[in-house]
Structures are given as structure tokens and as C-alpha cells.
Symmetry: C2
Subunit: 189 residues, 2 copies
């Protein structure tokens, strides 16, 4: 019988595609085996288990997101950098909803520390260099930005802002305006 040519990488990639098509929660080892027209047990030579597959998809998504963000940030500063970075998140979530959900998977501390998640916070701090914030306010601001980006995209994906005026795109722009204004005028404790 001919071999299918399975590798951990190909499985992860296909898992990411599957996530975008049917939703991250619907990604199962069984569904992936069907996609490769192979028996389920065969995947267990390449994947520890179901959780392992999901973690790998999450790590892939974090890498992709960090790469896009780094591209977007190149040569930009201030509000320009802020909106470019924010748009990367939102656009990625729209293009790849399953991957984006995967990127929000809770990772155990050591996996997280070795992931592209670190690059994400470094880039957020880089953006804040365009504003005038000392520690600990810079850290507070990093956390606020992360919260807004994740929160907005997440509520939008859940359908929270659809079917009501104004347009979500409009609120997103105005939210970024507001964040820029806030960072330029950060309140004293």
C-alpha cells in the first residue's frame, strides 16, 4: 500500500486549514485522518494526542501573526504603527478565524515562553516607544492594548457588533483614534 507522506508539519498545516473551515473546536484527529484518507491510528505516530495537535496549530498561528505584525511594523511609528499592528490582528482573525481562535489557546507556561507570544509583547512595547510612558505605565498600557485588540476582535467574531449601526469598521477606527489619544495623554496616578 502506498504511503501518504504524513509528517507533523503537514498535519499541523492541514489542521490549521481545517480549523479555518470548520472551526477550531471541530478540529479532531479523526477529521484530520479523513482529510488525508488515512486511518486514525496512523496519525498517532506523528502527534502525541489531540491536545498536541491543537497546541501545534496554536503555535503555528502565533508565528504567522507575529510575522505579519513584524512586517507591518517595519518603518512605522506612533499612531501609524499602532493602527498597522492592530489591523494585522483584526485582519488575520477575519481571514483565519480558526487559526485566530487557536492562537488564544491556553498554553502551559513553558510552551508559552518558547512561543512567538514573546515577540508579540516585544512588538507592543516597541509601539509604545512612540509615546511617552515610563514604567510601570508602559506595562499597564501593554496590557490595555492587548485587552482591547483581543476583546474587540473576539466580540466582533462572536457577532456582537453585527446587525447594528454604526458599522463595525467605523467603531474600530474610532477605537484606535481613542487609544492613540489616550496614549498621548496618559493620566497620572
Amino acid at each position: 500500500m502506498a504511503r501518504a507522506g504524513l509528517t507533523t508539519e503537514r498535519l499541523t498545516q492541514a489542521g490549521a486549514e481545517l480549523a479555518d473551515e470548520v472551526g477550531f473546536d471541530q478540529v479532531t484527529v479523526s477529521a484530520l485522518a479523513r482529510r488525508f484518507d488515512v486511518k486514525v491510528a496512523s496519525l498517532y505516530s506523528h502527534l502525541k494526542n489531540s491536545q498536541d495537535l491543537k497546541t501545534r496549530i496554536a503555535l503555528l498561528a502565533l508565528e504567522e501573526l507575529a510575522d505579519r505584525a513584524a512586517d507591518a511594523l517595519a518603518g512605522r511609528a506612533g499612531k501609524d504603527a499602532l493602527t498597522a499592528f492592530a489591523d494585522v490582528y483584526r485582519d488575520y482573525a477575519h481571514e483565519h478565524p480558526g487559526r485566530y481562535t487557536a492562537a488564544r489557546l491556553r498554553l502551559d507556561p513553558e510552551t508559552a515562553a518558547a512561543s512567538a507570544g514573546v515577540r508579540h509583547s516585544q512588538m507592543t512595547r516597541a509601539i509604545l516607544r512612540g509615546y511617552d510612558l515610563e514604567e510601570p505605565d508602559q506595562t499597564h498600557a501593554v496590557r490595555l492594548l492587548g485587552s482591547v485588540f483581543h476583546g474587540y476582535v473576539s466580540l466582533e467574531m462572536a457577532g456582537g457588533f453585527s446587525h447594528s449601526a454604526p458599522d463595525s469598521q467605523e467603531s474600530w477606527s474610532r477605537t484606535l483614534d481613542a487609544l492613540d489619544a489616550l496614549l498621548r495623554n496618559w493620566p497620572a496616578p
Copy 2:
């Protein structure tokens, strides 16, 4: 054989407790049956299916959250109202992580429209009456607040802000200070 006295309400309640104990994703009809020391099939007279159970837990959580928020808002305005409201969300998420996760479940539009979710947005708008915002900026602000609250709590629950200085409580306070400042000084388009 004696009867267990199952009702949809008791199952929902127990499901919510189970969610807080083992996580919302681990809430299954089987686990619930074990908790009542009853066969799995018996629950299907009271619940349509697994999704139905999860939706009911979500609706319960939304009600509880809205009740707490309404209490907290009584007699408060301005920044006082803003922080009281925000703290309700964060405290609820800490006390009832499973329920909080449930509250974020994607509901179909008609279920959502009949849920306590509507009260949540009404209350957010009520808070904004303490600030000077015209439409459509008021709607943008409602969306921003929802994003920050959800985003912050969600990242915090995922462990994003632990094991690093400063304290998450500190960032939360300063985030609320910042939001208050922003709402008092909302930028023109």
C-alpha cells in the same frame, strides 16, 4: 426505584457548578448524570441535547452577571459607576470562571435577543450618560468598554498577566483610570 428529582433548572444549576469546578469545556451530559447518580439517558427528558445544556448555563450566567451589575450600579454615576461595573465582571470571572466562560458562548441571534445580554448593553449605556458623548461616539464607546472588560478578564484568566510585575490588580485600576480619562476627553473624529 426512588426518583432523583431532576428538573431542567436543577440540571442547569448543577451544570454551572460543574463548569466552575472543572471548566466549561468539560461540562458534559455524562458528567452531569454521574453527579446526580443517574443514567445518562435520563437527562434527555429534561435537556434537548448537550448544546442545550451549555446554552442554559450561559443564560444563567448572563442573568447572574446582569443582576450583580444592576446592584452595583444603583446610586452610582461617573467613574464610580464605571469601576463598580467593571469590577463586577472581573470579580464574577474570578469567582465563577466556568460560568464566565459560559457567558461568552456564541448564542444564536434570537436567543441572544431574549437573554440578559440586552440588559448588559443598556447598563453600559447608562454608565456613559455620566460622560458627554453623542451618537455615534456613544456606541463606539460601548463597544470599546465591552472589548476592554472582556479582553482584560479573558487574558487574565488565561494567565497572561501572572508571574510578571506589576500586579494585575494594579494594571486593572490604572486601566480603569485611563478609560475614565479617555471618556472625559473623547477625541473628535
